[in-house]
Symmetry: none
């Protein structure tokens, strides 16, 4: 049986339509006692979205499967039409994307924690897996020192980059590298770090290089009291994702402020547009300026997720209301297909990603309008014309409404 | 790509929450002219369920797939998170579980029908596949006679047990048994019984033993006019189901009166609690007494299905109303996650299991409440926040709402 990607690739046809996917990150919520039992989206004053909802088809999506809480990469890959259970992006790659590092196809990336160890009979024992959560500036200094001391091992370039607090990334760059390596972080304290093991024969030389990196780094840091040992997990390489151009015949662009989402978009072959400002307004200016250059736009808005993770439901409402005020500018571009949804829910009450299905709005001249709904929110979407569906079908729905899919079979 | 079970096994984390699954067997119905076009659940007076529905999320489940009517084992396996299209429980095993027989892992079980044959030139021809549907007591007597005459064959113990009317079960117990054998019941009359064929080389010796059992039993019964031949079908062994403890990290208990459901629960590693009384009230006493001992409870209520199969819609309503009166006792235990659903529909109008989707209610502090519904019934569930989904996602939803699942991917 064909995969969904193969099916769409077979059916795709070109035309002049323009498709816009707006991802309000972490859009969905759950009822908050502080909001009289309403979700953030129900409580926010969003007259433009509510009006648009009555001229659109609504639904609810499962980013992965019912009950499963997705990470950001899984949520976005689904919206881009890639089966999230099949295409897994490793932690190391995601960390590198998150700091805007330009990974090459053969690079092996790994996420690092700086830890505190004590040496007993010459062997390290982990005292604190996060080295007391140092300030990011401290980690930046340590990474600079390490990078000066360690440039390459066995002909493989070693690139060390600080992330946030105790977190950093290491990128191994060279020939014949293989990421099938075990983690060294035992995920608990009072024990020794694990050694790197190769999980496939082809990864043995990479395992040796990683082990040597750890040895050299520990030696450089041996005099430090707090940040004195690297723990590594999530060795990974870029997945070989087929591109938007290849799968859908779309010339696609991404407008996103945060590096991780820019990185994800570049992985599927989107042109990632420069975005000097961080506001929704600034992003829309970029969208407008490039409107004639692409077939498909991915517009990412981070604020809804950030405020949700902070537990700031008023803040999340404010981002939604800000977006609502900007919506007429989007509509004035007259996209042939407009989807407004999220990559997952981030209820302010949970301060975290959640498994709850995500509100979904599809606007096009060819929808069945849910003209009887009160607006764009979870309770309305629950009964929308699109039903409840896996987010991986988003691309099919967008392409279909754009007239970009041929009939399947005879 | 991972299976759902593997995915959940990877994501599960432990905590102190308590999960309760109430299965009202055969819960769903279809409209009855006698009830003014209402289903049993719509017509029943269930104020407690209706109130709970407005503080819960509703949905409708497909036990297997739309349009597919499930047997009891498929319906329950789905609710327990096991893909029912993958994990098939053989008819012989199910028959043994149904009479409370304690199957061992190497046993081969088979379902038997007592038939009436006539001998033509010394060969049997089936006259009546069910031997005129004898009273159960007759079948019990015949089984006792057969068991006295046949104890073991080629070192394999033969255990013969009556079931109901013309039905019985045979369990073959010994080393190196293999259930890959063909049925001997041709499913029609006027023809000879089929011979047992081995469907795999490893099953050849078991085929010989089964054939010898049939020969000996026919010899014992040769003087009988009615019950004079055994027809066998559904040779099977226990499936090697991963346990609840292994998959979900749950210490699980089952409260069920009927042997088959007790058997199904034990197959997935639940502790099956002794249940001296047969009423819902008696089952709830057991639940209360063991509330502190387990993480997860499966509470099975049979009456809804029995009355549905009898075509007794008033009786099915009475069971629903009885359950509704007991509901406050369940709520007073304050389960962190409570699901009330069925394993399939058994509309009184059809007097049988059916394919209709099954009402589903999930109560937890973290649901989107369907506060606008009129109650707990098919029409309300159709528009619930959980949508329409396959019952195999029930475990994911319960674990998620219990805070027992980590985020998927990065």
């Amino acid at each position: 049986m064909q995969s969904l990607s193969e099916l769409l690739q077979d059916l795709t046809r070109a035309n002049k339509t323009k498709i816009l996917l707006v991802v309000l990150d972490g859009l969905g919520g759950i009822p908050l006692p502080e909001l009289n039992g309403q979700t953030e989206l129900e409580a926010a004053r969003t007259p433009n979205l509510d009006g648009l909802a009555r001229r659109s088809s609504l639904g609810l999506t499962h980013p992965v499967l019912p009950g499963i809480t997705p990470g950001s990469s899984a949520g976005h890959l689904a919206l881009f039409g890639y089966e999230p259970l099949e295409w897994i992006i490793g932690r190391g790659v995601l960390e590198a994307l998150g700091i805007g590092f330009s990974l090459q196809s053969q690079d092996v990336a790994v996420r690092g924690n700086f830890a505190t160890v004590a040496y007993q009979n010459g062997s390290p024992v982990i005292i604190d897996r996060r080295a007391g959560r140092p300030a990011t500036a401290e980690t930046e200094n340590i990474c600079t020192c390490l990078q000066l001391a360690i440039r390459q091992i066995n002909g493989v370039e070693i690139i060390i980059r600080p992330v946030k607090e105790h977190r950093f990334a290491v990128i191994f760059r060279g020939a014949n590298l293989d990421a099938r390596l075990s983690d060294t972080d035992p995920q608990k304290e009072g024990v020794a770090p694990l050694s790197v093991r190769s999980l496939a024969q082809a990864a043995e030389s990479t395992a040796e290089i990683a082990a040597e990196f750890i040895r050299q780094a520990a030696t450089v840091l041996i005099g430090e009291k707090k940040i004195n040992y690297p723990l590594l997990r999530g060795f990974s390489q870029l997945p070989n994702l087929p591109s938007f151009a290849n799968l859908y015949g779309l010339k696609a662009a991404a407008i996103a402020v945060y590096p991780m989402y820019r990185g994800l978009a570049s992985l599927v072959g989107m042109k990632v547009l420069d975005c000097p400002g961080e506001t929704i307004e600034a992003e829309l200016t970029i969208l407008k300026n490039h409107w004639s250059d692409f077939d498909y736009f991915f517009l990412h808005i981070k604020g809804t997720d950030s405020k949700g993770e902070d537990g700031d439901y008023q803040g999340k409402m404010a981002v939604l209301e800000d977006f609502d005020r900007q919506l007429p500018h989007i509509l004035s571009l007259k996209p042939d297909v407009l989807v407004i949804t999220g990559d997952h829910s981030t209820p302010a009450r949970l301060k975290n990603h959640s498994w709850h299905p995500v509100p979904f709005l599809l606007h096009s001249p060819f929808v069945r309008c849910d003209h009887d709904v009160t607006g764009f929110h979870e309770l309305a979407c629950r009964q929308g014309s699109l039903g409840h569906f896996r987010a991986v079908h988003t691309m099919s729905l967008m392409l279909a409404h754009a007239g970009r899919l041929n009939k399947f079979s005879a």
